[in-house]
């Protein structure tokens, strides 16, 4: 009986390897398809409108894409730890942004410092939220938790309207924003604002990777993301780890909102549109992959910028439609995303 079992199990192991290899190939193929599509579109765009216009659209797409990627990250962090999409992530980030504004109004200080303060407070807020409203529910009862996050979505929107009103406010950029504050590459403008934002996003991702890969809590997080039952047997406190993921996601979300706000405006609904792009980025990249979220963000930003910039009849007001179309296309053809392993099966 022993040998029969051993054959059965080692057979299973070989199957696993084959599956993993096939998955890697499929992933490579999907990424290649996307890159080829983008490249073909780019060639056509350059021929159609010239290199300068294309470069401009490209820069816009990359900058926006990094921000979509950051917003997607805040979704991915919680999804990895819990298997749940936090629909309240957008409004949470919006509140964090208002918080930074209020801090700036009360105590004059550098914008970046106000953003950091708002991130810390958001992180604490996320931790409290998890403890009070999420943990009481059975973690396997995803439907209940998702409904809680939907309720929070509505509640936070109302709260912001109550406290700050519906009037759109402008958010100061942490970087110089004048018409002269830019470098020029082949005639296309690349603003300091865009460069600074990109550097901040990259810096934030590096810090995040360090936290997840070098700290005890980060290790716990990766264990829980891999296997909850086994993590329990390591002595890991699952609740605390999930709480950590909520705090981290809230802080990352606030940073994203504060970096997006200078190029839009702040009102209670301003993150909802961004969230559509973030969903597109997260579904594209795979909901359980941090690098995937960033890559997905870049692809989303580029696609939206190029499609709305070049396709006749698709103006910038139709950007959201492009975002939705991408979500639907990914869910249709590649539900686990380009880089992820876990499909969004329950939502």
């Amino acid at each position: 009986m022993g040998t029969v079992l051993s054959q059965a199990v080692s057979g299973g192991q070989a199957d696993l390897d084959v599956v993993a290899a096939r998955r890697r190939r499929a992933r490579l193929r999907a990424v290649l398809v996307v890159i080829v599509l983008l490249a073909a579109f780019s060639v056509w765009a350059v021929i159609d409108g010239g290199a300068q216009l294309y470069l401009q659209r490209f820069f816009d797409g990359i900058t926006n894409g990094l921000l979509y990627g950051l917003a997607a990250l805040s979704l991915v962090i919680v999804f990895k730890a819990t298997g749940i999409i936090n629909f309240a992530q957008g409004p949470m980030a919006m509140l964090g942004c208002y918080l930074a504004l209020t801090v700036l109004e009360m105590w004059p200080m550098p914008v970046l410092l106000a953003i950091v303060i708002a991130m810390v407070v958001s992180g604490l807020g996320g931790a409290v939220l998890e403890r009070v409203l999420i943990r009481p529910f059975d973690p396997d009862n995803h439907m209940a938790i998702i409904i809680v996050t939907l309720a929070l979505f509505l509640g936070f929107n109302a709260l912001a309207a109550l406290v700050w009103g519906f009037r759109p406010l402008s958010f100061p950029s942490p970087f110089p924003q004048g018409t002269a504050d830019a470098i020029e590459i082949a005639g296309a403008r690349l603003s300091y604002q865009a460069i600074g934002t990109a550097l901040l996003v990259v810096g934030a991702v590096v810090v995040l990777e360090l936290v997840l890969n070098r700290t005890r809590l980060g290790l716990s997080f990766r264990c829980v993301a891999n296997d909850v039952a086994n993590s329990r047997l390591l002595g890991i406190d699952i609740g605390r780890t999930v709480q950590f993921s909520w705090a981290l996601a809230a802080a990352v979300g606030t940073l994203g909102a504060c970096l997006i706000a200078p190029s839009t405006y702040v009102d209670p609904g301003f993150m909802n549109k961004i969230l559509v792009y973030a969903f597109a980025a997260a579904t594209l990249g795979g909901l359980d992959s941090i690098r995937g979220a960033l890559a997905g963000g870049l692809l989303t930003g580029l696609s939206v910028s190029l499609v709305t910039g070049y396709l006749p009849g698709v103006g910038s007001e139709l950007g959201l439609v492009v975002g939705f179309a991408m979500i639907i296309a990914v869910l249709q053809f590649k539900p686990a995303g380009l880089f992820g392993n876990r499909a969004m099966e329950r939502v």
Binding site: M1, G2, T3, L5, S6, A8, V9, S10, Q13, L16, D17, A20, R216, L219, S220, R222, C223, A225, N226, D227, A229, N230, S231, R232, L233, L234, G235, I236, D237, I238
Partner: protein
């Protein structure tokens, strides 16, 4: 009489309200190897899960004299009970090294790096594959990793659920040598759930036989080897 390291008294376990263990009494002394035998579905896994409070239980479980029934799994593990679940329980997405670090994630002392180095010495194959993901290891390598990972906790009690399952006979022999050595050198008590009764009884001092959620026999390893029913059911002669 001194208090045993682990004492289960009248423990019943439930899955969704259905009773799977019907009141069992088990003791394990410090530094002892105890084997648990039983047919498929007898409740061996459930017994181990009860100790870690991974199932609902009633009755009393004491570790080192302290009541642990009703405590959280993470607090029980922190007290020094490590479990290698059936099917190994390594974290497939994490590297071998991270799996070992994860085993010590609750420890606050400075000895973690030294312990990892010593496990690499015990299992050189793991050292070669330290940056590979655990999911890419062979079955035998994963079992080694699972054991090393569990012992990274520096537990006083190790619960092993069918470690030989799916391994080639040569590897199983090595594995039991390692278990015996760990028990001898580190004084770690072991509860060993096994189908491979011959090898298990070789390294165990005592054993229990479970049948349909009840303990039907409790005896020394020698007595179990002589017992007709045990020989027929588990030793194949």
């Amino acid at each position: 009489m001194t208090e045993p390291l682990l004492r289960m008294s009248g423990v019943r376990a439930y899955y969704d309200g259905v009773e799977a263990l019907h009141g069992i009494d088990i003791t394990v002394d410090t530094g002892e190897v105890v084997v648990v035998l039983g047919a498929n579905g007898a409740g061996k896994t459930t017994t181990l899960r009860s100790i870690c409070q991974l199932t609902t239980t009633t009755g009393e479980i004491r570790f080192d004299g302290d009541l642990i029934s009703g405590a959280s799994t993470s607090s029980i593990v922190r007290r020094g009970i490590a479990m290698v679940p059936q099917g190994r329980g390594t974290l497939g997405d994490l590297s071998v090294e991270d799996n070992l670090l994860a085993g010590a994630v609750t420890r606050r002392d400075k000895g973690v790096a030294g312990d990892i180095a010593s496990w690499y010495e015990t299992f050189p194959r793991l050292a070669q594959r330290r940056h590979q993901t655990a999911g890419s290891l062979s079955g035998g390598e994963q079992q080694m990793l699972a054991i090393a990972r569990a012992l990274m906790l520096r537990p006083r009690l190790l619960l092993m659920d069918e470690p030989s399952l799916g391994l080639a006979p040569v590897i199983v022999r090595d594995l039991f040598d390692v278990l015996a050595r760990i028990n001898r050198e580190r004084g770690v008590a072991i509860v060993l759930v096994e189908q491979n009764a011959v090898l298990a009884l070789d390294i165990a001092q005592r054993g229990y036989v479970l049948e349909a959620g009840n303990l039907v026999l409790s005896a020394s390893a020698d007595q179990l080897r002589q017992d007709d029913a045990v020989r027929l059911a588990y030793l194949g002669n």
